[in-house]
């Protein structure tokens, strides 16, 4: 029983990290319809920004983290501005944007590997590494922070999307780009905002993993593809869905370990995903993709 509770708690922590990544990716995919695999590059970059801020510039941890999140948001925005929007101006179709995104992901991760070696780079996180005991469950403070950040980030994003004018513009574009343009919304600017927001919300996920086990160059690829699994499971176009999908994946991986050896973790998630798209292709809350492009 204690073991089960522990796995449940760990699953919730891992799930929160997946959820942040999935919410960011899902926001971008739902609004722009770009299959933005370079989201993984932003995820990896965020970790290295935080590491560089603390270890190279000697900034206090919290300052380094905040700056890293801002830098990640800017990176996401620049990817759209300098890559995707330029391609679209030349009449690129979705496939072209997807391939350029894949190319960028490969470039960024391998440049990180060349400059910083493929080995994990450790950060000093002080008291965050100390253990917390909640009944029979042991976690570190960092894990508690991860869950709190996921909840806070999700609530802030939802409030922004529902209440602010800019947030409403994002929702308008995601429900119908043509109609949004007709009522005078600048699609380019809404896309830039979406990329900045989606990157900023995924950045803490990358940074928390880096604080826990070190920054690694190739981790982003796995995370962005898991995020897309979470988004599809939750339902495309649904932010609550992406959140639930991410948490569900984390729980699945960890509860699976209860019965199945841990080296099969990733196989479990994808096995369930395949069953899922047979049984419920629209996910928990979403609608299914209408026509087949890409």
């Amino acid at each position: 029983m204690d073991l089960l509770l522990q796995l449940l708690a760990t699953g919730l922590v891992v799930g929160s990290i997946y959820a942040l990544c999935a919410v960011g990716w899902g926001l971008i995919y739902g609004t722009t319809l770009h299959f933005h695999v370079a989201h993984g590059a932003v995820f990896s970059l965020a970790a290295y920004y935080a590491w560089a801020g603390q270890q190279l510039l000697g900034l206090p941890l919290i300052v380094a983290v905040v700056l890293a999140i801002l830098a990640a948001a800017l990176s996401g925005l620049l990817i759209d501005l300098l890559l995707y929007q330029q391609l679209e101006r030349r009449g690129a179709i979705r496939t072209t944007v997807f391939i350029s995104s894949l190319g960028l992901l490969i470039v960024v991760e391998n440049v990180l590997a060349m400059v910083f070696t493929p080995d994990p780079l450790r950060m000093d996180i002080g008291v965050l590494h100390d253990a917390v005991q909640l009944g029979p469950v042991f976690l570190t403070w960092l894990h508690v922070v991860a869950v709190a950040l996921a909840v806070a980030g999700y609530l802030a994003l939802m409030a922004f999307l529902k209440r602010s004018r800019a947030g409403q513009a994002i929702r308008a574009v995601s429900s119908s780009p043509e109609m949004a343009r007709t009522v005078g919304i600048d699609l380019g600017r809404v896309h830039l905002l979406t990329y900045a927001l989606g990157s900023a919300i995924a950045a803490p996920a990358g940074i928390i993993v880096a604080m826990d086990v070190g920054a690694e160059p190739y981790r982003g690829t796995t995370f962005v593809l898991l995020a897309s699994v979470g988004v599809i499971m939750g339902g495309i176009g649904s932010i609550p869905g992406a959140m639930v999908g991410g948490v569900f994946l984390g729980l699945l991986e960890n509860l699976g370990v209860w019965q199945i050896p841990s080296e099969w973790q990733s196989a479990i998630s994808f096995g369930v995903f395949l069953v899922f798209i047979v049984v419920r292709p629209r996910g928990f809350f979403g609608r299914r993709i209408q026509s087949a492009e890409i």
Partner: protein, 303 residues
């Protein structure tokens, strides 16, 4: 030097088979798969295992590899191709991860990271292939066979249905074509052919381990198709000739191995981006007429 050139040509043959078969999906139906390296691995493991344990020869191995590759792909294609194309990117990535996990962790059969050594050399018509020249001939013959099969497929009525699906899925369905079934069939054929390359690889190197079949290999095969030109049958072969020469060229620069591997990847990634700006149709591809572009897919309300 001759041995060096022969190795290059054998690898060009193997990668041509992989790229040609992947292009059946990417170029002719517009579906992206991130699992082709894993399918390549299924072919390699299947034919290595039957050669080592059952003493089945090269030809038997090829057949077993093709069947195994087809089954693995059908497992994912049947659920995920019933829904839209974006699902297949994710589902095929899932297949890649699951299969690689199987190669690494099903140690009783695959011997895990240590891999399978001592795979016998192929016997063709009673002749044991063991010189570099003979391997070149075998690899190029297999590539030619794959090319012929792809040519036949794409120039058949079936091939025209596939292209209709790629250009306008709804119109194809309206003409009474079974879109889903056609997609599943081509995904299965594509994988069966891709697995043949794995079989040849296993019998050529005579040793396999999981690291040859990882995700970056899938992305590399996709790069061959895209850079070569996905709407021409010969495009992927040109891609294989050029991109396989790149690492050989890098060898002449004195760069340590730890830097050379990521540097090669950076180069491939940069080429993908540059091509999307300058020549999205690839080296051999024909420019796409702008007016025929499908309209953007819309409507996924956020909230």
């Amino acid at each position: 030097m001759t041995a060096y050139l022969a190795h290059y040509l054998v690898m060009v043959g193997i990668y041509s088979v992989l790229a040609l078969s992947l292009n059946l999906l990417v170029g002719y139906v517009g579906i992206f798969s991130l699992a082709h390296a894993a399918i390549y691995g299924v072919g390699a493991y299947a034919s290595a295992l039957v050669a080592l344990h059952l003493g089945l020869g090269f030809w038997g191995g090829l057949v077993v590899a093709a069947v195994a590759g087809a089954c693995a792909a059908a497992l994912v294609a049947i659920p995920s191709l019933r829904v839209a194309g974006d699902y297949y990117i994710v589902a095929s990535f899932g297949l890649q991860v699951v299969l690689l996990t199987v190669f690494m962790n099903w140690t009783d059969v695959t011997n895990g990271h240590a891999g399978l050594p001592g795979i016998p050399r192929p016997r063709v018509l009673g002749w044991v292939v063991d010189t570099p020249f003979e391997y070149v001939a075998l690899a190029l013959a297999l590539a030619a066979l794959t090319y012929a099969i792809c040519h036949r497929l794409t120039h058949s009525a079936f091939g025209r249905v596939l292209q209709a699906i790629r250009d306008d899925e709804i119109a194809a369905a309206a003409m009474g074509k079974n879109v889903v079934l056609n997609k599943i069939v081509i995904a299965t054929i594509s994988s069966a052919l891709g697995a043949l390359a794995g079989s040849l690889y296993a019998h050529y190197i005579t040793y396999i381990n999981p690291s040859s079949f990882a995700l970056h290999e899938s992305i590399f095969i996709m790069s061959l198709v895209i850079l070569g030109g996905s709407d021409r049958l010969a495009g992927p072969i040109v891609g294989a000739f050029i991109l396989l020469a790149v690492p050989e060229a890098l060898k002449f620069l004195a760069i340590p191995d730890t830097v050379a591997a990521p540097m090669r990847q950076v180069l491939y990634g940069a080429l993908l981006i540059i091509f999307m700006f300058v020549r999205p149709e690839g080296i051999l591809g024909r420019a796409r007429p702008k007016a025929l572009e499908p309209p953007p897919v819309t409507s996924h309300a956020i909230g």
